[in-house]
């Protein structure tokens, strides 16, 4: 019974925290693969998917800042994807050239040879997008697209799949003038201080938001996880799992202690110190912790494995698993407190029937 409580808590914690880690990865994956050192975005931009269009003059201004080696335009925006059967779903159009944010984990087709109307999509979303594979066609804003490449594992936290295409095609679909973009990705020359360049860019480009890559990751994480409350829900679920787990384990340990009160009284009568009895209870709790953890983490890994090819992958990393072991042991120790409190009040004279 104690084991079931612990198992339940471990699985709940692993799933919630694994989803949280998975969400973090989904949010920053595109940013990490863009390969820029600094992001120039419209003022007040808070996420990759929801930035507004820049004027266009920023590119040349940025190129004139010392230490900047390249400035690549990138277009990203939500857009409606019309399937072959004319039903529509939301997607995120990502347009870039010259290897900037080029799709990774390509499993079918080629992204180096995208045709003018060609796109790369992730096969996780094949059903959502209504595509059967390479060569499938669809439309965005009335313009025809053809699936030229399939990737594996590029998921979107917003659940709107990323559609990778050339910069020109993205501009065309979204009616973005050919000198404008959603972001300018700045590459800094090797050895040059990134934050120095960032400050210089801020001086030169008032009215824009400029982020180092790390800042942009954090901004996106803050927005999607905490601005929208999604992350709070996941972490809240984990905290809930911890509380429920602690209560259930405490309850079962407590009732097992109560069932064995006569035995604890015998131990006490035999002269055992309180310390010895506490050790017995804590040992029992720790053994339960390890067994419950072992079962729980095995179930969790199975669940995580099964989630790998779904839009909501659970990332159960070795670090998370190790942390959960510590959490489980601490949880069981805390749960043992009520039992310990109970046995300290035992009257050893109860060993004799009076």
């Amino acid at each position: 019974m104690t084991l079931i409580g612990i198992l339940f808590a471990v699985v709940l914690l692993a799933v919630q925290l694994g989803l949280y880690l998975g969400a973090r990865k989904m949010i920053v994956d595109t940013i990490d693969h863009a390969g820029g050192d600094i992001w120039i975005a419209a003022y007040g931009s808070n996420s990759f998917e929801q930035a507004t269009i820049l004027h266009g003059r920023e590119r040349f201004a940025a190129l004139s800042v010392p230490g900047v080696s390249a400035v690549e335009p990138l277009v990203a925006s939500f857009a409606p994807w019309t399937r072959g059967d004319t039903s529509t779903t939301s997607v995120v159009v990502v347009g870039a050239d010259n290897g900037t944010l080029s799709p990774w984990n390509v499993v079918e087709g080629s992204v180096s040879a995208l045709s003018p109307d060609g796109v790369a999509v992730d096969r996780t979303y094949a059903d959502t997008l209504g595509i059967s594979g390479i060569g499938a066609v669809a439309e965005i804003n009335g313009q025809r697209l053809r699936v030229d490449a399939l990737t594996d594992g590029i998921r979107s936290f917003t659940t709107s799949p990323y559609i990778f295409m050339s910069l020109a095609k993205a501009r065309e679909l979204l009616s973005v003038p050919s000198d404008q973009a959603t972001f300018y990705l700045v590459k800094v020359q090797p050895g040059v201080d990134v934050s120095g360049v960032k400050h210089a860019l801020e001086k030169k480009l008032p009215g824009t938001s400029i982020f180092t890559n790390a800042e942009f990751r954090q901004t996106n994480l803050d927005y999607w996880l905490f601005g929208t409350g999604a992350g709070v829900a996941l972490l809240g679920g984990a905290v809930l799992g911890l509380i429920i787990g602690t209560v259930v384990v405490a309850q079962t340990l407590y009732s097992s202690t109560k069932d064995h009160l006569a035995e604890f009284a015998t131990l006490r009568a035999l002269g055992s110190s309180s310390f010895y009895i506490h050790k017995v209870i804590l040992t029992q709790a720790t053994v339960s912790a390890f067994l419950g953890y072992g079962l729980g983490i095995a179930v969790s890994f199975a669940v995580a494995q099964a989630s790998l090819h779904t839009p909501m992958p659970i990332m159960l990393t070795p670090q998370l698993a190790a942390m959960l072991l510590v959490v489980t042991v601490v949880m069981c120790a805390v749960s043992a407190l009520s039992s310990i409190f109970k046995v300290t009040k035992i009257d050893p004279a109860m060993v004799f029937a009076r």
Binding site: L267, A269, S274, A349, F352, R354
Partner: protein
């Protein structure tokens, strides 16, 4: 003169319960236990035997009176100190055995040693020796559920004697056993006292167990009413036996007794 007693209780009074339900379970009890002696404590139900045993066993604190154990005065001790005294001086045997059902006979005995901080090797050796001593050398691995009542009580005796405490207290150790097993247990306890020089005090109802004892103490209504030594034919009255009518008037007697002590 004999050596001074290993355990000595003087003028022990114990009040139990509260308010209306308050009873004086023990009314000034004096008692001494000597090493090598097997003593029986006999008396009707409700006479205060268990209460006295609990106080002698440092499980219960007397309302007044003094207790000396191994030369140490046992007064105003914390629960931890009392546990420590029990660990060093006392072994217990219970009517209902109080064995741990999830532990084998050997492990039950080991537990009593482990509590006392013996090394795990010593625990194992001593536990096995004790079980052999009580005649259970062949049931070391047996669980209490598979043992007969007599065997269970032997395991409990092994648990009590393994750490070699100078005093062993047993509350109605044969009450749950048939006559034959009861005798065997009493014989074993008498052997434990005689052979190993321990003070053994056992509470019993059964007059047939008297021949095993070196000494019989009788208690009634919280007062020691008599004491017999081995081979003595009759009760040596500690005081004139109270008649039922004189029941309510214990106080004058206690006064007299105190004067006698002075």
């Amino acid at each position: 003169m004999r050596a001074f007693p290993i355990l000595e209780a003087r003028q022990i009074v114990k009040e139990l319960g509260q308010g209306e339900g308050k009873v004086q379970a023990l009314k000034s009890v004096d008692l001494a236990l000597h090493e090598g002696e097997f003593t029986l404590l006999m008396g009707p139900s409700g006479s205060g035997k268990t209460t006295l045993l609990s106080i002698l066993g440092c499980l219960l604190t007397p309302t007044s009176g003094t207790l000396t154990l191994g030369g140490e005065a046992v007064t105003h001790r914390s629960a931890e100190d009392l546990a420590d005294l029990r660990r060093r001086h006392l072994g217990f045997i219970f009517q209902s055995y109080n064995l741990f059902p999830t532990l084998s006979a050997l492990d039950n005995v080991r537990l009593g040693l482990d509590v006392r901080g013996f090394s795990s090797r010593e625990c194992k050796e001593r536990a096995a020796e004790a079980l052999i001593e009580v005649g259970l050398g062949h049931r070391l691995k047996a669980y209490p559920g598979t043992l007969s009542g007599g065997e269970k009580q032997r395991v409990a005796i092994a648990r009590a004697i393994a750490p070699e405490p100078p005093v062993i207290l047993a509350d109605e150790p044969t009450a749950a056993l048939d006559t034959e097993n009861g005798y065997a247990i009493m014989e074993l306890l008498s052997r434990v006292a005689g052979k190993n020089g321990r003070a053994v005090l056992a509470v019993t109802h059964d007059p047939r167990t008297v021949p095993f004892a070196d000494r019989v103490i009788e208690i009634e209504d919280g007062i020691i009413t008599g004491e017999r030594k081995k081979h003595a034919a009759t009760v040596i009255p500690a005081r004139p036996r109270q008649s039922q009518a004189a029941h309510g008037k214990a106080a004058p007697y206690q006064d007299r007794k105190r004067q006698a002590h002075a």
